[in-house]
């Protein structure tokens, strides 16, 4: 699966499981958050990635982060 902020590009080139990351220079980070909040956000991102890996897809599919 792929984590990237440029989800539309990833889907267009055929990445099958895509989770939208934060920004292209820090896909797995939220520098504006306090360190503990950023770590919690990243944990949620990786959980979404694991959930995507466990989901059956038939074509390039975007998985959004829960709320």
């Amino acid at each position: 699966m792929t984590v990237t902020s440029l989800a539309s590009v990833a889907l267009k080139v055929g990445a099958n499981r895509v989770v939208r990351g934060a920004r292209f220079s820090h896909p797995c980070g939220q520098p504006a958050l306090a360190p503990a909040d950023e770590r919690a956000w990243r944990l949620g991102l990786v959980r979404a990635a694991v959930a995507a890996l466990g989901t059956s897809v038939s074509e390039p599919t975007l998985f959004e982060l829960p709320g």
Binding site: T2, V3, A15, S25, P27, C28, R39, R42, V50
Partner: protein, 349 residues
Amino acid sequence: MTKVRVVHYLNQFFAGIGGEDKAGTPPSARPGPVGPGVALEQALGGAAEVVGTVVCGDGRFADDMDETAGALLTLIERFAPDVVIAGPAFSSGRYGLACARVCHDVATMLGRSAITAMHPENAAVESYRRDVVIVPTAPSALGMNDALRALARLALKLGRGGALGPAADEGYLPRGRRLNVRAEGSASSRALDMLLARLRHAPFVSEVPLPRYDRVPPPPPIAEAARMRLALVTESGLVPPGNPDRLEWVRASKWLKYPIGARRHLAVGDYEVAHGGYDAGFALEDPNRLLPLDAVRELERRGEIGAVLDDYYVTCGNHGILSQMAMHAREIAADLRARKVDAVLLVAT
């Protein structure tokens, strides 16, 4: 004007020797045209003569390509051709490979022109299209007449020592070469013409062909995340300090793997970024913003995933050349498979 001397290459089937039962037929030669060579000579319209036909069984060729190709080349050379025409091979994989290889060797080792024809999805096309002039055909021999006409026209040009124009104009498969041509009008006016055509829903042809991307069937989902072995891969250019293996920050020629070991997170100062496409400031403040090892370890501790591979894989995607990046991907995937990885978390910047 003297006639152009053509040598024609055929497999056992088109030479009338037999089908798959005769696929082991060894290389042989005979004077004059054989089978479709008769129609080929007609298509050449008296300007050229099929002086000889060289034949080999597809199975024989496939079983021992180097030796068979060498024997065929010797037979071809005896006819002193101006140009060699191989096939058409249509969709036949082994025949296509033989035709393409014969053309390749005639050009590189005899210094003579050569041309073949086959269906664009014939497996030989991918391997040889850059080096061999290949005329596209229908998938089956129903397209024989069209194929022979196209072959004859280009073979005459090549046999007289002429150069071929662009693939789209001449009707062969693009070799990926760039030819200088003088265009009508400036780039800006041509671009505006295309834009206007598009707005009118009129046809237009881009001067910059867009890349075509492979579709990979999605792999089945992971059955049990708590037991999966996960690998971390990134094209973000995240490397150890000093970039010891000199990963290029643009158009990377390589991929690398570096140990994660028992690290619980990626520490500040342990990494730098070899990537010319983004500001590395945020990543240098906390490399986990690129490769989320801290969060992955947390899930590992909680038993939500099985294990994390003790190396991470990295290249730099900045201005990546599609074919090169695809090669990196195949090599990384092969390495990961050998290490029994179940799933990959790929971070793309």
